[in-house]
Protein backbone atom coordinates (compact mmCIF):
# COMPACT_ATOMS: atom_id res chain seq x y z
CA UNK A 1 0.00 0.00 0.00
CA UNK A 2 1.26 3.52 -0.60
CA UNK A 3 0.05 7.03 -0.02
CA UNK A 4 -0.11 8.92 -3.29
CA UNK A 5 -0.97 12.39 -2.12
CA UNK A 6 -1.81 14.38 0.96
CA UNK A 7 -3.58 17.69 1.22
CA UNK A 8 -3.91 19.54 4.49
CA UNK A 9 -5.14 22.71 6.06
CA UNK A 10 -4.99 23.97 9.65
CA UNK A 11 -2.81 21.08 10.82
CA UNK A 12 -0.53 22.21 13.67
CA UNK A 13 1.99 24.78 12.40
CA UNK A 14 1.82 23.70 8.76
CA UNK A 15 0.72 26.13 6.07
CA UNK A 16 -1.81 24.70 3.63
CA UNK A 17 -0.08 22.02 1.64
CA UNK A 18 -0.72 19.64 -1.22
CA UNK A 19 1.92 17.00 -1.82
CA UNK A 20 2.50 14.13 -4.23
CA UNK A 21 4.62 11.33 -2.85
CA UNK A 22 6.96 8.73 -4.24
CA UNK A 23 5.62 5.20 -3.85
CA UNK A 24 8.93 4.24 -2.26
CA UNK A 25 11.14 6.77 -0.48
CA UNK A 26 10.25 10.23 0.78
CA UNK A 27 12.28 12.61 2.87
CA UNK A 28 11.17 15.66 4.84
CA UNK A 29 14.09 17.75 5.91
CA UNK A 30 14.39 20.99 7.82
CA UNK A 31 15.61 22.36 11.15
CA UNK A 32 14.06 21.58 14.51
CA UNK A 33 10.60 23.01 15.06
CA UNK A 34 9.98 23.63 11.36
CA UNK A 35 7.15 21.12 11.19
CA UNK A 36 8.68 18.09 9.51
CA UNK A 37 7.57 15.82 12.37
CA UNK A 38 4.08 17.28 12.09
CA UNK A 39 3.93 16.00 8.53
CA UNK A 40 4.57 12.47 9.76
CA UNK A 41 1.90 13.01 12.38
CA UNK A 42 -0.55 14.13 9.69
CA UNK A 43 0.08 10.93 7.72
CA UNK A 44 -0.41 8.86 10.85
CA UNK A 45 -3.60 10.71 11.74
CA UNK A 46 -4.99 10.16 8.28
CA UNK A 47 -4.35 6.41 8.58
CA UNK A 48 -5.42 5.76 12.18
CA UNK A 49 -7.66 8.67 13.16
CA UNK A 50 -5.51 9.83 16.02
CA UNK A 51 -1.99 11.02 16.77
CA UNK A 52 0.89 8.66 17.43
CA UNK A 53 2.07 11.09 20.09
CA UNK A 54 0.38 9.74 23.16
CA UNK A 55 0.06 13.07 24.93
CA UNK A 56 -1.44 14.81 21.91
CA UNK A 57 -5.04 15.83 22.45
CA UNK A 58 -7.07 16.06 19.26
CA UNK A 59 -7.68 19.77 19.68
CA UNK A 60 -3.93 20.48 19.74
CA UNK A 61 -3.76 19.26 16.16
CA UNK A 62 -5.76 22.29 15.08
CA UNK A 63 -3.62 25.26 14.25
CA UNK A 64 -3.56 28.07 16.76
CA UNK A 65 -6.13 30.71 15.65
CA UNK A 66 -7.93 28.27 13.35
CA UNK A 67 -11.26 26.54 13.97
CA UNK A 68 -10.79 23.58 11.74
CA UNK A 69 -8.19 21.05 10.67
CA UNK A 70 -8.67 19.06 7.50
CA UNK A 71 -6.67 16.30 5.84
CA UNK A 72 -7.31 14.52 2.59
CA UNK A 73 -5.21 11.66 1.30
CA UNK A 74 -5.37 9.28 -1.61
CA UNK A 75 -3.75 5.87 -1.40
CA UNK A 76 -3.27 2.79 -3.51
CA UNK A 77 -4.26 -0.11 -1.27
CA UNK A 78 -5.04 -3.84 -1.65
CA UNK A 79 -8.71 -3.08 -2.18
CA UNK A 80 -7.89 -0.53 -4.89
CA UNK A 81 -7.84 3.23 -4.68
CA UNK A 82 -8.89 4.72 -1.36
CA UNK A 83 -9.66 8.32 -0.53
CA UNK A 84 -9.74 9.37 3.12
CA UNK A 85 -10.97 12.72 4.36
CA UNK A 86 -10.54 13.63 8.00
CA UNK A 87 -11.75 16.84 9.59
CA UNK A 88 -11.68 18.05 13.14
CA UNK A 89 -13.03 21.11 14.87
CA UNK A 90 -13.34 21.86 18.58
CA UNK A 91 -16.58 19.89 18.80
CA UNK A 92 -16.40 17.00 16.43
CA UNK A 93 -14.42 14.67 14.27
CA UNK A 94 -15.54 13.82 10.76
CA UNK A 95 -14.39 10.96 8.62
CA UNK A 96 -15.18 10.04 5.03
CA UNK A 97 -13.88 7.03 3.16
CA UNK A 98 -14.30 7.19 -0.62
CA UNK A 99 -16.81 9.99 -0.12
CA UNK A 100 -18.96 7.99 2.33
CA UNK A 101 -19.38 9.55 5.78
CA UNK A 102 -18.35 7.08 8.52
CA UNK A 103 -19.94 6.85 11.94
CA UNK A 104 -17.13 4.90 13.51
CA UNK A 105 -13.44 5.68 13.56
CA UNK A 106 -12.80 1.94 13.71
CA UNK A 107 -13.87 1.73 10.06
CA UNK A 108 -10.57 3.39 9.19
CA UNK A 109 -8.14 1.20 11.09
CA UNK A 110 -6.40 -1.34 8.88
CA UNK A 111 -7.50 0.24 5.58
CA UNK A 112 -4.20 2.10 5.33
CA UNK A 113 -1.81 0.06 7.47
CA UNK A 114 1.01 2.08 8.99
CA UNK A 115 3.92 1.67 11.39
CA UNK A 116 5.62 4.63 12.96
CA UNK A 117 9.13 4.71 14.45
CA UNK A 118 9.78 7.78 16.54
CA UNK A 119 11.67 8.85 19.67
CA UNK A 120 8.42 8.27 21.59
CA UNK A 121 9.06 4.56 21.06
CA UNK A 122 11.68 4.72 23.80
CA UNK A 123 8.69 4.44 26.14
CA UNK A 124 7.97 1.02 24.68
CA UNK A 125 10.85 -0.44 26.68
CA UNK A 126 11.28 2.18 29.40
CA UNK A 127 7.71 3.23 30.14
CA UNK A 128 4.78 1.63 31.92
CA UNK A 129 2.88 -1.44 30.68
CA UNK A 130 0.24 0.74 29.01
CA UNK A 131 2.77 1.59 26.27
CA UNK A 132 3.33 -2.07 25.46
CA UNK A 133 -0.37 -2.95 25.55
CA UNK A 134 -1.02 -0.09 23.14
CA UNK A 135 1.70 -1.39 20.85
CA UNK A 136 0.15 -4.87 20.78
CA UNK A 137 -3.39 -3.57 20.38
CA UNK A 138 -2.49 -1.25 17.51
CA UNK A 139 -0.47 -3.95 15.75
CA UNK A 140 -3.27 -6.52 16.00
CA UNK A 141 -6.19 -4.16 15.33
CA UNK A 142 -4.69 -3.19 11.99
CA UNK A 143 -5.17 -6.69 10.63
CA UNK A 144 -7.97 -8.11 12.79
CA UNK A 145 -11.38 -6.43 12.81
CA UNK A 146 -12.59 -9.03 15.29
CA UNK A 147 -9.83 -8.11 17.72
CA UNK A 148 -10.67 -4.43 17.46
CA UNK A 149 -14.36 -5.17 18.08
CA UNK A 150 -13.45 -7.37 21.06
CA UNK A 151 -11.29 -4.59 22.49
CA UNK A 152 -14.11 -2.11 22.22
CA UNK A 153 -16.55 -4.51 23.80
CA UNK A 154 -14.09 -5.32 26.57
CA UNK A 155 -13.68 -1.63 27.38
CA UNK A 156 -17.44 -1.28 27.61
CA UNK A 157 -17.79 -4.31 29.91
CA UNK A 158 -14.96 -2.97 32.05
CA UNK A 159 -16.70 0.38 32.50
CA UNK A 160 -19.94 -1.34 33.41
CA UNK A 161 -18.24 -3.67 35.86
CA UNK A 162 -16.23 -0.88 37.52
CA UNK A 163 -19.39 1.14 37.95
CA UNK A 164 -21.15 -1.85 39.46
CA UNK A 165 -18.26 -2.45 41.91
CA UNK A 166 -18.56 1.15 42.97
CA UNK A 167 -22.35 0.87 43.37
CA UNK A 168 -21.95 -2.32 45.42
CA UNK A 169 -19.47 -0.56 47.69
CA UNK A 170 -21.90 2.33 48.13
CA UNK A 171 -24.73 -0.10 48.90
CA UNK A 172 -26.67 0.84 45.77
CA UNK A 173 -26.42 -2.52 44.03
CA UNK A 174 -26.48 -6.16 45.00
CA UNK A 175 -23.22 -8.13 45.02
CA UNK A 176 -24.98 -11.00 43.23
CA UNK A 177 -25.38 -8.91 40.08
CA UNK A 178 -21.61 -8.89 39.57
CA UNK A 179 -21.58 -12.46 38.32
CA UNK A 180 -23.00 -11.79 34.85
CA UNK A 181 -20.42 -9.07 34.30
CA UNK A 182 -17.64 -11.36 35.49
CA UNK A 183 -18.68 -13.90 32.92
CA UNK A 184 -18.75 -11.25 30.19
CA UNK A 185 -15.37 -9.88 31.24
CA UNK A 186 -13.75 -13.31 31.29
CA UNK A 187 -15.21 -14.44 27.96
CA UNK A 188 -14.25 -11.29 26.11
CA UNK A 189 -10.94 -10.84 27.97
CA UNK A 190 -9.85 -14.40 27.20
CA UNK A 191 -10.40 -13.84 23.48
CA UNK A 192 -8.13 -10.79 23.64
CA UNK A 193 -5.46 -12.59 25.63
CA UNK A 194 -5.44 -15.60 23.28
CA UNK A 195 -5.00 -13.37 20.25
CA UNK A 196 -2.18 -11.47 21.93
CA UNK A 197 -0.41 -14.73 22.80
CA UNK A 198 -0.71 -15.92 19.23
CA UNK A 199 0.68 -12.65 17.85
CA UNK A 200 3.53 -12.53 20.36
CA UNK A 201 4.57 -15.96 19.13
CA UNK A 202 4.92 -14.52 15.61
CA UNK A 203 6.53 -11.28 16.72
CA UNK A 204 9.09 -13.08 18.88
CA UNK A 205 10.76 -14.71 15.91
CA UNK A 206 10.73 -11.63 13.72
CA UNK A 207 11.79 -9.16 16.40
CA UNK A 208 14.48 -11.56 17.59
CA UNK A 209 16.16 -11.84 14.23
CA UNK A 210 15.83 -8.09 13.57
CA UNK A 211 17.44 -7.35 16.90
CA UNK A 212 20.33 -9.69 16.20
CA UNK A 213 21.02 -8.10 12.85
CA UNK A 214 20.95 -4.53 14.17
CA UNK A 215 22.98 -5.24 17.31
CA UNK A 216 25.55 -7.33 15.51
CA UNK A 217 24.27 -10.68 16.73
CA UNK A 218 25.55 -10.78 20.26
CA UNK A 219 22.38 -10.67 22.34
CA UNK A 220 19.02 -12.39 22.30
CA UNK A 221 15.75 -10.47 22.46
CA UNK A 222 12.92 -12.26 24.23
CA UNK A 223 9.18 -11.53 24.46
CA UNK A 224 6.80 -12.99 26.98
CA UNK A 225 3.20 -12.18 27.81
CA UNK A 226 2.74 -11.40 31.46
CA UNK A 227 -0.76 -12.09 32.83
CA UNK A 228 -2.10 -9.93 35.63
CA UNK A 229 -3.64 -13.03 37.21
CA UNK A 230 -1.46 -15.92 38.29
CA UNK A 231 -2.00 -19.24 36.56
CA UNK A 232 -1.60 -22.65 38.13
CA UNK A 233 0.08 -25.34 36.01
CA UNK A 234 -2.33 -26.79 33.48
CA UNK A 235 -4.89 -24.08 34.04
CA UNK A 236 -6.51 -22.20 31.15
CA UNK A 237 -6.77 -18.43 30.87
CA UNK A 238 -10.48 -18.43 31.73
CA UNK A 239 -10.01 -20.48 34.88
CA UNK A 240 -7.17 -18.30 36.14
CA UNK A 241 -9.09 -15.15 35.33
CA UNK A 242 -12.25 -16.42 37.07
CA UNK A 243 -10.30 -17.48 40.12
CA UNK A 244 -8.58 -14.10 40.38
CA UNK A 245 -11.91 -12.28 40.19
CA UNK A 246 -13.55 -14.55 42.74
CA UNK A 247 -10.73 -14.33 45.27
CA UNK A 248 -10.27 -10.58 45.12
CA UNK A 249 -13.84 -9.39 45.27
CA UNK A 250 -13.32 -7.48 48.54
CA UNK A 251 -10.16 -5.85 47.23
CA UNK A 252 -11.81 -4.82 43.96
CA UNK A 253 -14.90 -3.58 45.76
CA UNK A 254 -12.82 -1.35 48.03
CA UNK A 255 -11.11 0.21 45.04
CA UNK A 256 -14.13 0.21 42.75
CA UNK A 257 -11.83 -1.07 40.01
CA UNK A 258 -11.25 -4.27 38.05
CA UNK A 259 -7.72 -5.36 38.89
CA UNK A 260 -7.28 -8.33 36.55
CA UNK A 261 -7.56 -8.81 32.82
CA UNK A 262 -5.96 -7.81 29.52
CA UNK A 263 -6.14 -4.15 30.57
CA UNK A 264 -3.64 -4.93 33.35
CA UNK A 265 -1.38 -7.40 31.52
CA UNK A 266 2.09 -6.63 30.21
CA UNK A 267 4.46 -7.63 27.47
CA UNK A 268 7.79 -8.49 29.03
CA UNK A 269 10.80 -7.65 26.88
CA UNK A 270 14.10 -9.25 27.80
CA UNK A 271 17.69 -9.06 26.56
CA UNK A 272 19.72 -12.17 27.28
CA UNK A 273 17.06 -13.13 29.81
CA UNK A 274 17.07 -9.83 31.73
CA UNK A 275 14.13 -7.49 31.77
CA UNK A 276 15.04 -4.59 29.54
CA UNK A 277 12.88 -2.15 31.45
CA UNK A 278 15.08 -2.44 34.52
CA UNK A 279 18.40 -3.61 33.17
CA UNK A 280 18.71 -2.48 29.57
CA UNK A 281 21.00 0.34 28.44
CA UNK A 282 19.47 3.17 26.46
CA UNK A 283 21.03 1.78 23.28
CA UNK A 284 19.57 -1.67 23.93
CA UNK A 285 16.17 -0.22 24.70
CA UNK A 286 16.09 1.78 21.49
CA UNK A 287 17.34 -1.09 19.37
CA UNK A 288 14.69 -3.35 20.89
CA UNK A 289 11.97 -0.79 20.15
CA UNK A 290 13.12 -0.54 16.53
CA UNK A 291 13.24 -4.33 16.22
CA UNK A 292 9.68 -4.57 17.58
CA UNK A 293 8.37 -1.94 15.19
CA UNK A 294 10.06 -3.56 12.20
CA UNK A 295 8.64 -6.90 13.28
CA UNK A 296 5.21 -5.28 13.46
CA UNK A 297 5.62 -4.06 9.88
CA UNK A 298 6.70 -7.50 8.74
CA UNK A 299 3.80 -9.16 10.52
CA UNK A 300 1.27 -6.72 9.04
CA UNK A 301 2.69 -7.31 5.59
CA UNK A 302 2.25 -11.07 6.09
CA UNK A 303 -1.25 -10.83 7.54
CA UNK A 304 -2.62 -8.26 5.10
CA UNK A 305 -0.77 -9.25 1.98
CA UNK A 306 0.42 -5.68 1.53
CA UNK A 307 3.19 -3.66 3.09
CA UNK A 308 2.34 -0.92 5.58
CA UNK A 309 3.61 2.61 5.22
CA UNK A 310 6.64 3.31 7.42
CA UNK A 311 7.21 6.58 9.23
CA UNK A 312 10.74 7.21 10.52
CA UNK A 313 11.09 10.19 12.79
CA UNK A 314 14.70 11.14 13.45
CA UNK A 315 15.16 7.84 15.12
CA UNK A 316 18.17 6.76 13.20
CA UNK A 317 19.68 10.22 13.56
CA UNK A 318 20.33 9.31 17.13
CA UNK A 319 21.92 6.00 16.28
CA UNK A 320 25.35 6.13 14.71
CA UNK A 321 25.42 6.62 10.98
CA UNK A 322 26.13 2.99 10.16
CA UNK A 323 23.11 1.85 12.09
CA UNK A 324 20.93 4.54 10.57
CA UNK A 325 21.90 3.50 7.09
CA UNK A 326 21.36 -0.08 8.02
CA UNK A 327 17.84 0.66 9.23
CA UNK A 328 16.75 2.13 5.91
CA UNK A 329 18.33 -0.85 4.16
CA UNK A 330 16.35 -3.24 6.30
CA UNK A 331 13.15 -1.73 5.01
CA UNK A 332 13.90 -2.02 1.34
CA UNK A 333 12.49 -2.98 -1.02
CA UNK A 334 8.95 -1.82 -1.71
CA UNK A 335 7.96 -0.35 1.60
CA UNK A 336 6.83 3.22 1.21
CA UNK A 337 8.94 5.19 3.68
CA UNK A 338 8.64 8.70 5.03
CA UNK A 339 11.66 10.03 6.87
CA UNK A 340 11.80 13.27 8.83
CA UNK A 341 15.28 14.46 9.69
CA UNK A 342 17.27 17.55 10.53
CA UNK A 343 20.52 15.95 9.41
CA UNK A 344 20.34 15.91 5.70
CA UNK A 345 23.79 14.39 5.33
CA UNK A 346 22.41 11.21 6.93
CA UNK A 347 20.42 10.55 3.84
CA UNK A 348 21.95 12.76 1.16
CA UNK A 349 24.44 10.08 0.28
CA UNK A 350 21.52 7.91 -0.77
CA UNK A 351 19.62 8.00 -4.00
CA UNK A 352 16.04 7.57 -4.90
CA UNK A 353 14.44 9.82 -2.32
CA UNK A 354 11.80 12.35 -3.17
CA UNK A 355 12.76 15.32 -1.06
CA UNK A 356 10.61 17.93 0.61
CA UNK A 357 12.06 20.96 2.29
CA UNK A 358 10.23 22.14 5.44
CA UNK A 359 10.79 25.69 6.63
CA UNK A 360 8.71 27.53 9.22
CA UNK A 361 5.68 25.37 8.50
CA UNK A 362 5.99 25.62 4.71
CA UNK A 363 6.54 22.41 2.78
CA UNK A 364 7.86 22.41 -0.75
CA UNK A 365 9.11 19.64 -3.02
CA UNK A 366 12.67 20.06 -4.24
Amino acid sequence: MHLKSLKGTGFRNLSDFELEFSPTKNLFHGGNGTGKTNLLEAIYYLSIGRSHREAAEDEHLIQFNKDLMRLEGAAEARGGEILVESALNKEEKRLRINGEPQQKLSELIGRMPIVSLSPEDDELCKGGPGNRRRFLDMAISQFSRTYLADLQEYRRILHQRNRLLFDIREGRADAGSLEVWNQQLVNCGAKIIRKRLEVIDDLKEMAGSRYMRISGGRERLGLRYHLSCKTEPGEGVEQAFNRALASSFEFEKRRGLTMFGPHRDDLEITIAGHRIRNFGSQGQQRTAAIALKLAEAEMLAGQLGEKPVILLDEIFAELDRDRGGFLVDQLEPDYQIFIATAKEEDVSARDGFRRFRVEAGRVAPE
Partner: protein
Protein backbone atom coordinates in the same frame (compact mmCIF):
# COMPACT_ATOMS: atom_id res chain seq x y z
CA UNK B 1 -29.33 29.67 25.85
CA UNK B 2 -31.41 32.69 24.77
CA UNK B 3 -33.21 32.57 21.42
CA UNK B 4 -35.17 35.82 21.71
CA UNK B 5 -38.38 33.91 22.43
CA UNK B 6 -39.23 31.85 25.50
CA UNK B 7 -41.51 29.60 23.39
CA UNK B 8 -38.68 28.84 20.99
CA UNK B 9 -36.24 28.16 23.83
CA UNK B 10 -38.77 25.85 25.45
CA UNK B 11 -39.34 23.87 22.23
CA UNK B 12 -35.59 23.42 21.78
CA UNK B 13 -35.14 22.35 25.41
CA UNK B 14 -37.95 19.79 25.11
CA UNK B 15 -36.62 18.37 21.84
CA UNK B 16 -33.17 17.97 23.37
CA UNK B 17 -34.63 15.60 25.96
CA UNK B 18 -35.26 13.07 23.17
CA UNK B 19 -32.66 10.34 22.64
CA UNK B 20 -30.03 11.08 20.00
CA UNK B 21 -30.95 14.74 19.68
CA UNK B 22 -28.32 17.33 20.55
CA UNK B 23 -28.63 21.08 20.60
CA UNK B 24 -27.86 21.53 16.91
CA UNK B 25 -30.49 19.05 15.74
CA UNK B 26 -33.02 20.44 18.21
CA UNK B 27 -32.48 23.93 16.81
CA UNK B 28 -32.87 22.71 13.27
CA UNK B 29 -36.11 20.89 14.09
CA UNK B 30 -37.51 23.85 16.03
CA UNK B 31 -36.82 26.29 13.19
CA UNK B 32 -38.27 23.82 10.72
CA UNK B 33 -41.48 23.65 12.77
CA UNK B 34 -41.52 27.43 13.03
CA UNK B 35 -41.43 27.77 9.24
CA UNK B 36 -43.90 24.91 8.57
CA UNK B 37 -47.65 25.24 7.92
CA UNK B 38 -49.71 25.71 11.10
CA UNK B 39 -51.57 22.39 10.55
CA UNK B 40 -48.35 20.50 10.29
CA UNK B 41 -47.11 21.54 13.71
CA UNK B 42 -50.56 21.08 15.18
CA UNK B 43 -50.85 17.56 13.71
CA UNK B 44 -47.53 16.60 15.30
CA UNK B 45 -48.56 18.00 18.67
CA UNK B 46 -51.90 16.14 18.43
CA UNK B 47 -50.21 12.87 17.51
CA UNK B 48 -47.91 13.12 20.52
CA UNK B 49 -50.85 13.83 22.85
CA UNK B 50 -52.81 10.86 21.49
CA UNK B 51 -49.74 8.65 21.73
CA UNK B 52 -49.61 9.31 25.44
CA UNK B 53 -53.39 9.10 25.94
CA UNK B 54 -54.16 6.02 23.88
CA UNK B 55 -51.06 3.87 23.65
CA UNK B 56 -50.03 1.76 26.56
CA UNK B 57 -47.97 -1.35 27.14
CA UNK B 58 -49.45 -4.80 26.68
CA UNK B 59 -50.20 -6.43 30.04
CA UNK B 60 -48.59 -9.66 28.83
CA UNK B 61 -45.60 -8.78 26.69
CA UNK B 62 -45.09 -4.98 27.19
CA UNK B 63 -45.29 -4.28 23.49
CA UNK B 64 -46.95 -0.97 22.58
CA UNK B 65 -50.71 -1.34 22.01
CA UNK B 66 -54.02 0.51 22.28
CA UNK B 67 -55.68 -2.45 24.04
CA UNK B 68 -55.11 -4.17 27.37
CA UNK B 69 -53.51 -7.08 25.55
CA UNK B 70 -51.79 -6.55 22.18
CA UNK B 71 -52.75 -8.09 18.83
CA UNK B 72 -49.79 -10.47 18.84
CA UNK B 73 -50.65 -11.90 22.23
CA UNK B 74 -54.31 -12.35 21.17
CA UNK B 75 -53.46 -14.00 17.83
CA UNK B 76 -54.51 -17.70 18.08
CA UNK B 77 -52.11 -18.66 15.28
CA UNK B 78 -49.07 -17.74 17.36
CA UNK B 79 -47.36 -20.44 19.38
CA UNK B 80 -47.71 -19.47 23.06
CA UNK B 81 -45.09 -22.01 24.15
CA UNK B 82 -42.33 -19.94 22.60
CA UNK B 83 -41.27 -16.51 23.84
CA UNK B 84 -38.73 -14.26 22.16
CA UNK B 85 -37.23 -11.73 24.59
CA UNK B 86 -36.19 -8.39 23.10
CA UNK B 87 -34.93 -5.15 24.60
CA UNK B 88 -37.30 -2.67 22.97
CA UNK B 89 -40.55 -2.70 21.00
CA UNK B 90 -38.71 -1.71 17.82
CA UNK B 91 -36.54 -4.84 18.14
CA UNK B 92 -39.79 -6.80 18.14
CA UNK B 93 -40.70 -5.17 14.84
CA UNK B 94 -37.32 -6.16 13.40
CA UNK B 95 -37.93 -9.82 14.26
CA UNK B 96 -41.52 -9.62 12.92
CA UNK B 97 -40.31 -8.30 9.58
CA UNK B 98 -38.46 -11.56 8.99
CA UNK B 99 -41.85 -13.38 8.95
CA UNK B 100 -39.95 -16.43 10.24
CA UNK B 101 -41.01 -16.35 13.83
CA UNK B 102 -44.37 -17.73 14.99
CA UNK B 103 -44.10 -17.45 18.77
CA UNK B 104 -44.83 -14.65 21.25
CA UNK B 105 -42.64 -11.85 22.56
CA UNK B 106 -41.55 -10.24 25.75
CA UNK B 107 -40.25 -6.67 25.68
CA UNK B 108 -37.82 -5.94 28.53
CA UNK B 109 -37.93 -2.19 27.93
CA UNK B 110 -34.20 -1.89 28.51
CA UNK B 111 -31.06 -3.82 29.35
CA UNK B 112 -28.74 -4.18 32.33
CA UNK B 113 -26.43 -1.19 32.50
CA UNK B 114 -24.75 -0.21 35.76
CA UNK B 115 -23.43 2.95 34.06
CA UNK B 116 -27.02 4.11 33.62
CA UNK B 117 -28.08 2.81 37.01
CA UNK B 118 -30.21 0.08 35.44
CA UNK B 119 -30.32 -3.21 37.32
CA UNK B 120 -32.62 -6.27 37.03
CA UNK B 121 -35.41 -4.51 38.96
CA UNK B 122 -35.55 -1.69 36.43
CA UNK B 123 -36.44 -3.82 33.42
CA UNK B 124 -39.39 -6.22 32.91
CA UNK B 125 -37.67 -9.31 34.28
CA UNK B 126 -40.04 -9.93 37.16
CA UNK B 127 -42.97 -9.78 34.72
CA UNK B 128 -41.28 -12.30 32.45
CA UNK B 129 -40.74 -14.72 35.32
CA UNK B 130 -44.37 -14.38 36.37
CA UNK B 131 -45.42 -15.12 32.82
CA UNK B 132 -43.26 -18.24 32.68
CA UNK B 133 -44.86 -19.38 35.95
CA UNK B 134 -48.38 -18.93 34.56
CA UNK B 135 -48.16 -20.45 31.10
CA UNK B 136 -46.47 -23.64 29.88
CA UNK B 137 -43.51 -22.30 27.90
CA UNK B 138 -41.21 -24.69 26.06
CA UNK B 139 -38.54 -22.31 24.81
CA UNK B 140 -37.31 -18.79 25.49
CA UNK B 141 -35.25 -17.16 22.73
CA UNK B 142 -33.09 -14.36 24.07
CA UNK B 143 -32.75 -11.77 21.31
CA UNK B 144 -31.14 -8.96 23.24
CA UNK B 145 -28.64 -6.89 21.27
CA UNK B 146 -25.21 -8.38 20.55
CA UNK B 147 -23.27 -5.86 22.63
CA UNK B 148 -21.88 -5.85 26.17
CA UNK B 149 -25.16 -4.87 27.84
CA UNK B 150 -27.32 -7.16 25.73
CA UNK B 151 -25.01 -10.11 26.42
CA UNK B 152 -24.98 -9.43 30.15
CA UNK B 153 -28.78 -9.29 30.13
CA UNK B 154 -28.89 -12.60 28.22
CA UNK B 155 -26.57 -14.28 30.72
CA UNK B 156 -28.66 -12.97 33.59
CA UNK B 157 -31.93 -14.26 32.08
CA UNK B 158 -30.43 -17.66 31.29
CA UNK B 159 -29.37 -18.09 34.92
CA UNK B 160 -32.92 -17.35 36.05
CA UNK B 161 -34.84 -19.36 33.47
CA UNK B 162 -32.79 -22.53 33.00
CA UNK B 163 -33.51 -23.94 36.47
CA UNK B 164 -37.25 -23.91 35.52
CA UNK B 165 -36.53 -26.62 32.98
CA UNK B 166 -37.29 -24.35 30.02
CA UNK B 167 -35.05 -24.43 26.96
CA UNK B 168 -33.15 -21.15 26.59
CA UNK B 169 -31.55 -20.19 23.28
CA UNK B 170 -29.60 -17.12 22.29
CA UNK B 171 -30.03 -15.61 18.87
CA UNK B 172 -26.88 -16.65 16.99
CA UNK B 173 -24.15 -14.14 16.33
CA UNK B 174 -24.85 -13.82 12.65
CA UNK B 175 -25.25 -10.12 13.28
CA UNK B 176 -22.55 -7.56 12.67
CA UNK B 177 -20.67 -7.03 15.91
CA UNK B 178 -21.65 -3.98 17.91
CA UNK B 179 -24.72 -3.37 15.82
CA UNK B 180 -28.20 -3.03 17.20
CA UNK B 181 -30.89 -5.47 16.25
CA UNK B 182 -33.01 -2.68 14.88
CA UNK B 183 -30.59 -1.85 12.06
CA UNK B 184 -29.80 -5.33 10.86
CA UNK B 185 -31.26 -6.37 7.58
CA UNK B 186 -33.91 -9.06 7.46
CA UNK B 187 -31.81 -11.74 5.80
CA UNK B 188 -29.11 -11.79 8.47
CA UNK B 189 -31.71 -11.66 11.18
CA UNK B 190 -33.65 -14.56 9.67
CA UNK B 191 -30.47 -16.57 9.46
CA UNK B 192 -29.62 -15.65 13.03
CA UNK B 193 -33.04 -16.90 14.14
CA UNK B 194 -32.54 -20.23 12.38
CA UNK B 195 -29.12 -20.76 13.81
CA UNK B 196 -29.91 -19.90 17.40
CA UNK B 197 -27.74 -21.51 20.03
CA UNK B 198 -28.69 -23.33 23.17
CA UNK B 199 -27.45 -21.53 26.28
Amino acid sequence: MQYGSPALSRTIDELMKLPGIGRKTAQRLAFHLLKSQPDEARALAQAIIELKDRVRFCRECFNATEQEVCGLCRDPKRDPAMICVVEEANDLLAVERTAEYRGLFHVLQGHLSPLDGIGPDDIRVRELMERLGRAPVREVIVATNPNAEGEATAVYLTKLIKPLGIRVTRIARGLPVGSDLEFSDEVTLARALEGRLEL
